[in-house]
Structure formats: C-alpha cells, structure tokens
C-alpha cells in the first residue's frame, strides 16, 4: 500500500570511492560526463525490467479511472451536473496521469534515508576531509539518475498517454506549457533539496525512518498525488496550500490543465521558486550545523 512507491532507481550509488577518485582528478565537465555515463550503463543493463516496472506503476491508475467513473456517474445522476470540485471526468483522469509526470520529477527515493544512513555509519566523514561538497555531489548523481530514468521511462509514458489521449482536451497554449515545464524543473529541485534537508536531520536523530514515514504519508496525500487538493474543503485547503508539498505533484498538473492561470500562475511559480530557494539554504544550513555538531562530538 504505502510502500508501493518503491525505489525505481537506487540511492546515490556514485558516492562511493570511485566517484571520489574521479572528482579529484578531473575537471568539472569530464566529471559530469563520467558520472552520467556510469549511471547510464548501470541502469541500462536493467532497462527491460525498468520499463516494465514503469508500466506497472500505472496499474493503480486503472483502478482510479474506474473508481472515478463510478463516482461521476453517481454525481451526474444525483445533481445532473457531472463535476467534482470543478473537474469533469476526463479532466480528473488527465489529472492523475499528469501527477505521474510530476512525481517522476519530484520523487527522490532513497535520498533522505541514504544521507541519514551515511551519517549513521560514518561514511559522511569522507565529505568532511575531502574538498567535495556533499549536496552538490548528490545533486549531480541524482540528475544523472533522473536523466537515465527519463530515457527509459519515456517509452512506457508515451504508450500510456497515447492510449489515454481521449481524456485530454488537446495541448495547452505554449506559454502554459512553458510554465508547466518550469514548474516541473522546480519540482525536481524542490523535491531534492527538501529531502536532502530531511536527511540532514540524521545528524540530530539516530533513527529517522519513522520521521521519514510521516513525511511520506503527508506527501502522499497532500502533494496531490492521491487526489486534486482543490477538492479539500475550507480550512484544510488553506492549510495544505501553505505547505510546499503541493508543488511536488498538484501544481504542475493543475497548470497543464489550465486550472491556474494569469496572476495566480505567476504567483504560484514565484512561491514555488521561493520554496526552492528556501530549501537550498535550509539544506546548506542544516548540513553546516550538523557537521559542526558532528565534529563537536568527535564522530
């Protein structure tokens, strides 16, 4: 159930010794290329499984499609107007499909727990003695992994969207599409820095898995992954909208569907950017403070 969202691409494997040797010897561009190439090779070995796994991830959506079909039937019969929170059936299904894209950008399996584990088993020391920036290094590895993931997943995604094209009412305007892409890129950055910050909590707490479970729970329901968060009534909607979680799934999908336009869109993108900047700083600060505390205790 909860753990259905299992790890499609492992944690940062490249943080090993080989990665460091590369980092020390070569220039930044070569490093980037090397990390990318290693990731590609590593991942492409399992491309078949990987593609199949991506396809399987759409299976729960099938149930959702039928569930909402039944709900819209009932709503239509009862009120004569088949909409739920301003969504009609096609839009609702399109929404669920689009959140899959958002999650493909924003989900960071194994990132926070990986950092916490490195802190606990002392591997983090490498980053304290070597002139390598932990956050930057992890970001690089994650970008590489994501790129590989897109290369493989684009097939299954295209297939599913093609089969479901009937639920969409055509492509949005170019500006909306651009805004959506910008929001997706920021959702990647937000997901990364948010989880990195969570991982840094490992400096203070030995066991972070229960904390991460709480985060997972909230993010699953309030990012919009489970339902469009504009369905929420009154004070709940205000509460959920004031968290950064909505930018992980709901926001990019809603932008694509044209639910957010004009001034609201500009404001939304600015707030998302604000959250990204906030968590960039937060991850740096928590890392800095954590290292200080760590060295204070003598490791």
């Amino acid at each position: 159930m909860g753990n259905a969202q299992t790890n499609p691409y492992g944690s940062a494997n490249l943080s090993g010794a080989a990665g460091h040797a590369i980092l020390r010897r070569r220039g930044p561009l070569v490093i980037w290329w090397t990390i990318l190439r290693i990731s590609l090779e590593e991942r492409l070995v399992y491309r078949g499984d990987f593609a199949l796994g991506t396809l399987m991830r759409f299976l729960p959506l099938v149930t959702q499609v039928f569930l909402w079909g039944a709900i819209f039937d009932a709503v239509g019969a009862a009120t004569g107007q088949p909409t739920v929170a301003g969504y009609h059936y096609g839009e609702m299904v399109a929404y669920y499909l689009l959140t899959q894209i958002s999650r493909a950008f924003s989900s960071m399996p194994g990132l926070a727990s990986g950092i916490a584990l490195q802190i606990r088993n002392g591997e983090i020391k490498k980053f304290l003695v070597q002139p390598v920036d932990l956050v930057g290094f992890l970001l690089l590895g994650r970008i590489a992994h994501k790129l590989v993931y897109y290369v493989v997943a684009v097939g299954p995604f295209a297939l599913v969207f093609f089969l479901c094209r009937g639920f969409f009412s055509g492509w949005p305007e170019p500006t909306i599409l651009l805004a959506c892409i910008a929001s997706l890129v920021m959702s990647f950055l937000l997901g990364f820095f948010l989880e990195a910050t969570l991982g840094m909590l490992g400096f203070w707490f030995l066991e972070v898995s229960s904390l991460l479970f709480v985060y997972m729970l909230f993010s699953f329901f309030f990012s919009g992954h489970m339902f469009p968060i504009d369905m929420l009534p009154g004070v709940w909607a205000t509460l959920v909208r004031s968290t950064p979680l909505q930018y992980l799934a709901y926001f990019p999908a809603a932008v694509f569907l044209g639910k957010i336009q004009g001034a609201d869109l500009v404001w939304g993108l600015s707030v998302q950017l604000g959250w990204v900047l906030f968590f960039i700083v937060a991850s740096r600060v928590t890392f800095y403070l954590g290292v200080k505390r760590y060295s204070g205790f003598g490791g």
């Binding site: 399992y46 078949g48 499984d49 199949l52």
Partner: protein, 366 residues
C-alpha cells in the same frame, strides 16, 4: 555373517529366539545407510535477475549440466562415525542433502534405516538430524530455549524426556547460562552448540554433520569434538561428518570416505590413505660436520638443504634401494624415513583428481 549366526541360533533354540525378535535383530544388524549409484546433476540456468529476464528465460533458457555426484556406492553400519573428505564442490554436502531428503537424486538409490529419504516421510524425518555449520535453524531474535520448545512440539517429544535430554545436552556442552539469551547475541561457537542441542533433542539415530566446526576457534572446536565423540559413543548414533579440518576427522572418525569430482576415491581408515595414495616418502639425512655431499639429487628431489641436514623426497618403490645406496656412499650421522603429512597427501590426491577430470572433459567431444 552375523545374520547367519543368529539364524542358526534361532533354529537351534526356537523357544529362546522367537522368530520376530530374530528378524528384528537381523534388521538392526543390516547396514543403516545403503547407497547405490547415487548421482545428482544440476541444470544450471544462466539466470538473470528480474522479472522480464525471468519470463524470457521461461521460454528460452541457456543452461549447462553440472554433475555434483557421479554415482557413489556406500554402506554404513549402525554406530559408525564416518568422515567425508573432499575439496569444495566435491559432492560431500550434496550427499548429505540427498540423505536428508532435502533434494532428489538424478539416479540411484539410498536407504537410511529402511526409508527412502526424498520421500520425506514424517516417520523418517523424526529419526535423523542434520546440522550445518554455515546455516542456522534457531530463531535469530529469540533465546535458544524457545526454539527448543518448538522442536519439542514439532518432533512430539514427551515433556519429561524433552527436559531430561535438554538438561543433559546443556550440561555436556556447558551452555546453561546462555539458554535465555537471544541467539543473535551468542558467539559463533555458542551458537553451534545450541544448534547441536536442537538437532539432538529428538534423539536421532542418524546424525549428519556438515562442517560443524567451520569458523570456530580452537577451543570451541575441541569442545565440540569432545562432545561429539562422547555422545556418539554413549548413544551409539550413526554419524556422517564432512569437515575441512583434519583434526576433526582424526579425533572422531575411524572410517574416512574421500569424494572428489563427485566420485568416491577412497573408503577406509585415515592412515590407510597414506599407504594407498602417497607415492613418496621423506628421507631426512644428517651428515657429520658442516658439509653436505653433492649428487644427492640423483636419489630424489631435495626438499630442504640446511647443512648438515637434508630432506629428500624419494619414490616409494625404490626407497630401500636408494637408502642402501646412500648409506653405502656416504657417512651418515642420523637418518629417518617418514610419510609425508596427511594434509599434503590428500591435497596431492585432490589436485590429481581434478586434473583427471579436466582431461576427461577435454577428451569427450561435448
């Protein structure tokens, strides 16, 4: 012979030997383990991880056959303590697994106490035990005594008997204070002792031991050897043991079976191995003064030359002639003739066996 004698007795004294008990005695004097032509080959798939690869593999599989056991014959009498020696992958563990019914053979038959092991009858499974040094069957997070109680129920051991045996075994192995500690907190040696207790609680008549002392320190090894020797003698259990430690074998077993490349190479006493397989003896010569004469290498390989002492490896068949020739030509202060160390002989034999097997593979046009 024993059977004939008893039959004779039964015939002469029908009253003292009712027919049934005579048959019972005959049965108990028959070999407790009988193996004929037992062979096991594995089909090794070039397996790949993952669903898609596996599904593909269902339709088109690349595989090769590995013969773990190429047909062995063996009879073990009740109360014997037999060691299986052999290099890794020789088929020792496969034999034990076949005899415990964990896997099915490709060919051949085996009977243990009259049962065919791989039928996995409860009646059979209650009468033997298998201990593996590399795997543990006790619950990792629980104290050993909880696992023992589970055994009591699975093996239907009467409570009084269970307690008596458990106390006796715990006492013999000296692990009384550790019973209430979770198994994961025990040392390797302590854990092995607990595994042995668990295996012996139902008082098996046949015990299979697969490298029971692997990875243990000398003290624990010794303790377990002592225990096994004592317990086997007391209970008259039949024990089959595989081990890499010659000390285990030397301490416990009169009979040794050597398996290499899935075939039986030898069946007999430990010392008999040297007589049969060692092609050389070692002659140690001590010369007077600090000089070692030249030309010794014509008698055999010079293994070591530390004046005034020389060690020569001499072919067994010419040992008497060579010794006579050396004594005739040189003045010698001291001489000794020894067999090479057992480990060396066995190692030599193993490498010979693998060479032969390699040659066989080359010859056959596969």
């Amino acid at each position: 012979m024993a059977i004939i004698e008893i039959e004779g007795l039964a015939k002469s004294y029908p009253a003292a030997f009712p027919r049934r008990s005579a048959i019972l005695i005959i049965l108990s004097l028959m070999a407790i383990i009988e193996i004929e032509g037992l062979a096991k080959s594995y089909r090794v798939y070039q397996k790949q991880e993952g669903l898609l690869a596996s599904v593909k593999g269902l339709f088109r599989r690349a595989y090769r056959d590995v013969e773990a056991l190429r047909g062995i014959d063996l009879r073990v009498e009740s109360g014997e303590f037999v060691a299986f020696l052999g290099p890794n992958g020789a088929g020792k563990t496969t034999t034990l697994k076949l005899l415990s019914g964990v896997i099915n053979p490709t060919r051949g038959t085996a009977r243990v106490m009259g049962h065919i092991p791989w039928r996995r009858e409860n009646a059979y499974r209650r009468r033997f035990a298998l201990v593996m040094g590399q795997k543990n069957q006790l619950w990792w997070d629980l104290p050993a005594q909880e696992s023992f109680r589970l055994h009591q129920q699975i093996y239907c051991i009467e409570p009084a008997q269970f307690e008596r045996r458990r106390d006796e075994l715990v006492d013999l192995l000296g692990v009384g204070q550790l019973l209430a500690q979770p198994v994961r907190e025990l040392s390797l040696g302590e854990r092995m002792k607990m595994e042995l207790i668990a295996a012996l609680l139902h008082s098996p008549e046949v015990l299979f031991l697969d490298e029971p002392t692997i990875g243990l320190d000398v003290v624990a090894q010794h303790k377990i050897q002592q225990f096994l020797r004592y317990y086997q003698q007391q209970r008259k259990m039949t024990v089959l043991l595989t081990s890499h430690y010659m000390k285990d074998v030397a301490a416990l077993c009169r009979r040794v079976v050597i398996i290499a490349q899935g075939q039986m190479m030898y069946d007999g006493s430990l010392t008999g191995i040297i007589d049969r397989f060692s092609s050389h003896k070692i002659i140690t010569l001590v010369f007077p003064g600090d000089q070692v004469p030249k030309g010794l290498s014509q008698f055999g390989d010079v293994l070591e030359e530390q004046a005034p002492k020389v060690k020569l490896r001499v072919d067994r068949q010419v040992i008497a002639d060579s010794l006579a020739a050396i004594l005739a030509r040189h003045t010698i202060e001291d001489v000794s003739v020894e067999d090479p160390p057992l480990e060396e002989v066995i190692a030599e034999m193993f490498s010979l066996a693998s060479e032969q097997a390699g040659a066989a593979v080359v010859k056959s046009p596969v």
